[in-house]
Amino acid sequence: MERILHGKEIFEIIPFDINSSVLFFPIRHHSPICSYHLLKLIDEYKPDCILVEGPENANRLIPVLTDENTVLPVAFYYYYKDSRKLVSEDGEDYKCYYPFLNASPEYNALLKARQMNIDCGFIDLPYGEILIHTAEDKGIRKEREIQSYNDDYYLSENKFFKAICEKTGVRNFDEFWERYFETDSLYGTTEDFIAKMYTDCYLIRENTPEEDMIKDGCIIREQYMAQNILKEAETHSKVLVVTGGFHTPGLYNLVNGKNKIKKVKVHSFGEDIQNVYAMSYSFEAADALNGYASGMQNPGFYDNVWKGLAECLDNHEEPNEVYNNVVMDTLLKCAKKSNKANLLITMSDISSAVTMYDGLALIRDKKSPGLYELYDCVQSCFIKGEVNASSDLPIRFLSEIATGKEIGKLCDTAEKIPLMKDFEELSRKYRLKINDIIEQKTELDIFAKPLHMEISRFFYRLNFLKTGFAKRLKGADLINNIDRSRIREVWSYKRTVKTDSALIDYSAYGGTIEEVCAIVSSRFLKDEQKSGNAAKLYVECFLMGIDISENFADKMNDIIINDGDFFSLGKAVYYFNMLYSLRKMYGVDNSTSEYFLTKCFQKNIIMLPSMINVSPEDSAECIKICKMLYNIVSGDILSGEYNTLIETFKAMAEKENPEPALYGGVLGLIYGSDVSYKLRIENALQGYLSGTEDMRKNGASFLRGLFATARDIVLVGNEFVNIIDKLIKALPMDMFIEVLPELRLAFSYFTPGEIDSIAEKAAAIYNSKKSELMNKPQIYDDLYAVGAELEKIILGQSEVGK
């Protein structure tokens, strides 16, 4: 490895000549040491043009990125909508981030160019074009939660580096990187650093099959970049090219004619297909990207390192103390935070930690301690006892501090996407603290204050757009029918990177949040076929204060007419009934919901009789719908349908082979309007009793359905308890165990008070007292099993005895 890291012969393969017209500077994303030597090199090389790896369609954003009033982290957010199916047959939407931190060499290159007033620009293919040239599941098309343009998996996932990590005993690539580049190269010359980078990147490239580089789009991107470099070289005398180190050997060969350049043509797409915006970003988000091999972890720590290095550059000082200072500073912050959490970190702990990181740097041949020594010393000296999830707080604090909390801010002159502008203006109007990194809470009195109602709708709208912005902590939950009559809402909210990117995503749909919500709803409805889902959308629109009733009425009508799904229609009845009954409370006219409610209801009733043979898994849902229909006709709306519904239930009860639970449920509902059905119910239960074993088993299901709709049948008189007793007694042991869960479920419909009174009746059958029945010690299944075993043996022996 020594040979690999300190060989100057690399310059025979990729020359490094400060006088050449094109010079390549290899980098790793977000790396302070790369920025440090980059700026030193720019001073020496004095380029008149700086080219940076990055999709060229972001060139117009460079002035915003490098504006004095822009605060990093900032990210470029690219989207490409594959409606023309150029990437794949699926015609999907794609998006990715390109984050910039203060320590990012790409950023420093562009900033320096602005300060020097020289030309600069991005040279890579536009985002959509990269996608088009990338094979499925490779490169930028890898399946990832967050997609980043910066790829350093070439470095971090390389077999060659993995082997080095294992050999040198470092824990991961990042630790290796810090040891051999970040800290070590601070003390050498820029040329040494470049030699080291060239060498490693050359070796990695040698170890990467050409085929892989074609599949992930690397080769074609390099051809395009080389094309751009040569174009700029025509009009400039010294071009500095700043790219990921992996590309350096490839670009060198192309630019110097060692490999031929094939011209790459690009499509011209409108904004509806592809665009890029600048957005504020956070260290937290940048750190999360780390899991996707997109630069260094714990960016906050390295941001502080970079600040120290930049100061040294400005003052022409040696950077010897930078790491020591940042490490010490971070350690003290961690101690402070731990003490605030009552972990009692003493001066002695801190001085022991300092000894530890210095000692570790020494034993590890590091010129300065760094992030990993910091983690080591906190673990050894701040955690008293075993390290586990409950004791590792100091480590977690350190990780938070080293990740960094700051969020970026774009300068005022940055173009604002109208949708983002709307979001910010409304937030201002509603006095929402959207630039705070801490989650905020707000209480809304939605009926008393019109503004509060507006805010509530604002939150619902943002959630509808999947911004993850707000969470309703308290208040009516109309979708799930919980706390429906609450008149106050409590919300928490926090603007995150996800909020911004979602808004950018939807920006193609319209200029205001309201408008976009309306369009997205109507699109949703356009493709929807289930009335239940469509009705749910109605509720959502109601919550969002989006008036869709008129435009959507025809479409909704069609959906209901064509919907043959009983359960979906039941869901629709539920939602429309909810909307209808809320009309007074919210003071809105909802004649449409009444209309649709009636329509869905009627369809539901027509389909009802055929449901009696529903599969057992669906019976509970079916009973729920029957019960809901019954409740609706018992109220004021649709009371005219009461008799029709009962007649339908009666017709159901006459059908052959009913599903037992549903049968019980339906009989229970009829019993509610016609007590004479009690006899019918008792007969039905007797029927289950005297039938085959399977029939008896069904008796338990029947009870479950019955209790779901008519609990009181057990509570009046004693006959019912007697019948149940017979049913249970008639069951053989193993079958009893089998139906036990079903029985338990059936009795769960009763309140504790009711259970008491049932127990009393049951006890009376056996001339015993309720208290004895309820307080018997539990007999465990095992014991039962042993008893049964014993019985078998004894019976078996007596057989033999005969």
């Binding site: 000894t355 034993i363 000296c381 390290v387």
Partner: protein
């Protein structure tokens, strides 16, 4: 687990390596250390290239696997003013690591206090030779030094094994020693203050699975840096440990047959899966409650191997292996036997069908589980 085989102390086992390292050690040493911190590191974690000593090339092998950073932290801790406390499950090489550290730093690994419920203060500090005491009165000669006393007066490391098994108030007698680096023997009057020489430090080990442990007082905890030693996570490393350890023991016990690396791998995988509760192919395993440590795996392997050497014709039998595994796993509760059977009937069965070979033999041997 009882050690059924003999092993010489670390400093003798690796005498040559230690000498070679010492001869080539040019780095700065803390006072009274035999080796520099870097050389201690090399002794425990191995060196890539052999070192030359007396014209001989000596390879320093890696001895502790799976966490280099932990070893480095241990070394730095011992060079400072705090003690080192190694905590973890049984069989994670806490004792081994503390021996290696002591041998490399102080030249001896045997200056040890064994913590038990019966450990008393005089076993930690000092006691008297009563005959001499009666004859001469309280003089230094009559004093019987404890390992701690020896450590302080010679400037070497004192190992304190299973410290949490000793009663808390006994543990606490260490506090003043560690904070002031002074041991007071009031009976000796003006001679009674023993100052610790540089180089003195304490390595404690504690088992977090121990029932009836005596939690250390926070005052004592503050005198230590803690290191949690976890079981090795990587099956390849575990296999390597089994092979290394068994090779050493086999050598010491004059068993002249080569270590069967396939069986070592099989055993490493078995232990790994039973410990993690999930198989390589993702089958959930009901974990035994017994500790599935690497140390146990080594012992199971060695027993099987010595059996093959003494009673069979040098071929390790999977029947023996299975029986030894059975004995090692199913000593606490009956349930563990069921769990082990369950493991054979799912995971091993699967491997027997998929991979065949010794896994098939292993699966057939399930009938010896009882």
């Amino acid at each position: 687990m009882s050690q059924k085989y003999i092993k010489p102390p670390v400093e003798i086992r690796y005498a040559k390596e230690l000498e070679a390292l010492k001869a080539n050690d040019t780095a700065r040493k803390p006072e009274n250390w035999v080796l520099s911190p870097k050389a201690v590191r090399t002794f425990i974690l191995g060196s890539k290239t052999p070192i030359t000593y007396n014209g001989e090339k000596i390879t320093v092998n890696k001895k502790f696997f799976g966490n280099d950073a932990l070893v480095e932290r241990c070394i730095i801790t011992l060079a400072g003013s705090r003690g080192l406390m190694l905590v973890g499950e049984p069989g994670t090489a806490k004792t081994m690591l503390s021996e290696l550290l002591s041998a490399a730093i102080s030249g001896t690994s045997t200056n040890t206090v064994q913590g038990t419920a019966g450990t008393t203060e005089d076993m930690i500090k000092y006691s008297w030779n009563y005959a001499l005491l009666l004859a001469k009165g309280p003089v230094k000669e009559a004093l019987v030094p404890s390992p701690l006393y020896v450590g302080m007066s010679k400037g070497i490391i004192t190992r304190f094994e299973e410290i949490t098994r000793t009663p808390a108030e006994i543990q606490d007698s260490l506090i003043s020693v560690m904070s002031d680096k002074v041991l007071n023997v009031p009976e000796l009057e003006e001679d009674g203050l023993i100052f610790a020489k540089p180089g003195f430090n304490i390595i404690g080990t504690a088992n977090i699975r121990d029932k009836g442990v005596n939690e250390m007082s926070s005052a004592l905890k503050r005198r230590f840096n803690f290191e949690t030693v976890n079981p090795v996570k990587d099956v390849r490393l575990e296999k390597q440990i089994i092979i290394n350890e068994v090779e050493q023991t086999v050598l010491a016990n004059k068993i002249e047959m080569p270590v069967d690396t396939d069986v070592a791998e099989l055993l490493a995988i078995t232990y790994h899966e039973l410990r993690e509760g999930i198989s390589e192919s993702g089958i959930k395993i009901d974990k035994p409650s017994a500790v599935m440590s690497t140390a146990e795996a080594v012992s199971v392997f060695y027993q099987t191997m010595s059996n093959a050497w003494y009673y069979e014709d040098d071929k390790m039998s999977l029947k023996d292996l299975t029986e030894n595994l059975n004995n090692a796993v199913c000593k606490d509760t009956k349930d563990d036997l069921e769990r082990l059977k369950g493991y054979f009937n799912t995971v091993i069965k699967f491997k027997a069908e998929k991979i065949g070979g010794i896994w098939k033999e292993f699966y057939t041997a399930r009938k010896y589980l009882k």
